[in-house]
Amino acid sequence: MADLKKLNEKIWNFFASVDLAVALFIIISIGAAIGTVIPQQSDPEATIRFFSRFMSLNSSMKLYEIVNLFDLNNVYHSWWFTFLLFMFALNLTVCSIDRLPILLKSFKTSPQALLPEVLEKMPLKRELNLSANSKDLAQKLMAVLKDKGFSIFTFAYSDGVQIQCKKWIKTRLAVYLTHLSIFIILVGALIGTFLGLRGSMNIVEGTSSNLAISDDGKAIPLPFEVRCDKFEVEFYENSAMPKAYRSYIKIIENGQPVTIEGKDRFIIEVNEPFAYKGITFYQATYGFQPAEHAEFRFTYFDTSNKEYRISANFEKSFQIPGTSVRASVIDFSPALGMDEQGRFFNMSSEMINPAVLVQFEYNGKKSEQWILAKIPETWQTPFGKLKFDELWGAQFTGLQLRRDPGVPLIYAGSILMCIGLFITLFLRPVSYFVMVRDNKITFYHPSGKGIIMREKEIDKIIQKIQKEA
């Protein structure tokens, strides 16, 4: 029985120890660092190719076997990393349960007078002589200390008074607030992992979908449909630098578009997510993927400057309003550029400078012209002003979506952590021991930490007493 108790105690002490905490700091750090160097969650071939940049192919393959064995290509989800995080949480909890009661008890026990020999051994000592008797001096000193927010305990000696003063002692509790906050954050992460949902969906302009794909490739059916009306990349003027990625979406539930605050069309941008029924959508990616319904949209201005909207499919001819001219789009370039010889070429697959090559047919004669959406000079054709507005239905928006019931805990934990750390590190407990004998005051400070600040504070207290004396 005694042995079992001893063993229990040993295990408890192991989990309560700071040594374990420090060891975990180091091991978790090393593990996490490995994960930033070795490619994570990529296929074996890519990983081996990565290694072969530093060593021979043969040893790369051997290294991959080791990596695979220890899940080093998936560190953050591996059993051992999860185990380490679990140990971290356990250590934190046990350590707090172990130490908190002792601290709470120390608040309740009243302080005891210390022997002069003990005081003499303290790392900080300051002495000053004043011409006043000790009783007056002690009173004045206590008044100054009280003014500074200290709580004071006095002990009478045969030849004087010992004063112990303390301030912000309870701030020691804040460390446990910090520990608790980390625990809360880990619980929040756990909830998110098991009860949450993460996935992505790509929707082509003009289509809708109610299926998302989870990160591990499973289909997630949604209780509503998401329709992408339009996706656009806005660029800074005269620049290939993107200004905004923007999806215009509709939520369709039971065949009806959902209206929120009078709107049924919602905008998702990077940094501007959209949430519906607990699921939040984020703008993540986009791409070029012409659908069958893709259409080129034009505005035609006739001689009286009347506007006509025209939509046309690729290579399908359309009539220029009010004329017998037929036109058709025979080429498209998302980023039309001109080289030094004046030849056209495509600069990029991004829609930086979209342009269409339009073929006109009039009286059996054919002519061609490039029309650029951003260059008004190119809209002028022999048959009137034809403005190219956009190519619609050729891009998809990539939305990230997630539902995470753990997030409130993460936020709460984060706030608690900040409060805890600020109290712990900015409001350190202060205690002084003062002996007042005859007309001599001696200050002692029990710790060498922050000694310069303490010296300054003692100097200030001394100045105040001298002023009043």
């Binding site: 040594d19 700091f25 993107p242 905004a244 984020y282 750390l421 000694i451």
Partner: protein, 352 residues
């Protein structure tokens, strides 16, 4: 343009270094004032340049919260320097002590040199969509303020280790004198790099020394580096003596190291980790994703948590804790620059 103004500030920072050295050697108070004046003048010009750059950004972005110039690698390096200099001047003023100004000016000189030698763009750029958030201000400024606090604690910790180590064969002593001498070497090399550059746009770091095209100069530079490391190792007690002559004791250095970390750690936690997580949550839909930058921030956080636990719970004192502070900053540097240079990730502002 604002970066011309900031270059002048950088020049003053570099010029402050020899003045600090002469002050430390002669202990002439007038020179001390001159050193501080040089650094302060640099700082004032820097602040002026910062405001100018803010105006240039505001002209493009039209938003106060999103016009703070901390949006690319150049701006962040420059902002880091500003925090570092202000922090150091504050310590100088508060403790009436300018004993480690030499090393601060070396570190500042290195960082300013990097803005010229990493081949990064100094132009004002409009914000990419990912940075268009009000969290930019809170997350990035607080992160760099904490980095600057860690940098100051690194300097005092390094001096502390050199000062306290009695045994020249101990790893701690060899390590810290080497770090110091390598910093000095980089500083000198960068000055030569920039001074000898024919085309400022194509200069690369160490092009005039270690990586010189001429084999002879390259080898000579390596020999010089090794010699420098040896000299610092051999004459480390000279540094100790000089510091003692300036009435610096090891307690003072330890105390400043602690203060730097005690100030930097909560700022880093709230600004770097918590605000970063909130921003990531809003922009990418996840508060934590083991992105290299996030991971290395966590590692940095663990190292300083280690420092605090070692100091408060385990009661470590002296060289041991200072060594943690030194390695903490080396990891911070990796988190800041190394991750952008060597690992890929989502914090692409540092990409070249």
């Amino acid at each position: 343009m604002s970066y011309h103004i900031i270059s002048i500030a950088g020049l003053l920072y570099v010029l402050a270094m020899p003045v600090y050295i002469v002050y430390v050697l002669t202990k002439n108070n007038k020179l001390g004032y001159l050193a501080t004046a040089t650094l302060s003048a640099g700082c004032l010009i820097h602040i002026y340049g910062f405001i100018q750059r803010f105006k240039e950004m505001y002209a493009i972005n039209h938003s106060f919260m999103r016009s703070i110039p901390i949006t690319n690698l150049y701006e962040s390096l420059v902002f880091f320097v500003l925090c570092l200099v202000i922090g150091y001047l504050f310590i100088e003023w508060k403790y009436k002590n300018r004993s480690f100004g030499v090393i601060v000016s070396i570190l500042v000189g290195i960082i300013i040199g990097l803005t010229d030698l990493l081949g990064i763009s100094k132009e004002v750029q409009p914000l990419v969509p990912a940075l268009k958030s009000n969290w930019l201000l809170a997350h990035v400024t607080l992160s760099f303020i904490s980095y600057a606090a860690f940098a100051l604690s690194f300097i005092t910790a390094l001096l502390h280790v050199i000062m306290v180590s009695e045994n020249k064969k101990s790893f701690k002593y060899i390590f810290s004198t080497s770090v110091l001498s390598i910093m000095v070497f980089i500083f000198i090399s960068m000055i030569i790099d920039i001074a000898t550059a024919s085309n400022p746009r194509s200069v690369r770091i160490f092009h005039s020394t270690l990586g010189n095209q001429s084999m002879f100069i390259s080898v000579l530079s390596w020999i010089f580096l090794v010699a420098l490391v040896f000299i610092f190792w051999k004459f480390g007690d000279f540094i100790t003596k000089t510091l003692k002559g300036l009435k610096i004791n090891s307690d003072f250095l330890e105390d400043i190291t602690y203060k730097g970390i005690a100030f930097g750690f909560p700022i880093f936690t709230i600004g770097g980790l918590v605000f970063g997580a909130i921003w990531a949550d809003q922009a990418w839909g996840r508060y934590w994703g083991w992105d290299p930058k996030e991971t290395w921030s966590l590692i940095t956080w663990f190292v300083y948590a280690f420092y605090l636990h070692a100091k408060f719970i385990k009661g470590w004192r002296g060289v041991k804790t200072s060594m943690i502070a030194v390695s903490g900053f080396l990891i911070t540097i990796f988190t800041y620059l190394g991750v952008n240079l060597f690992l890929s990730g989502l914090h692409s502002y540092g990409s070249m």
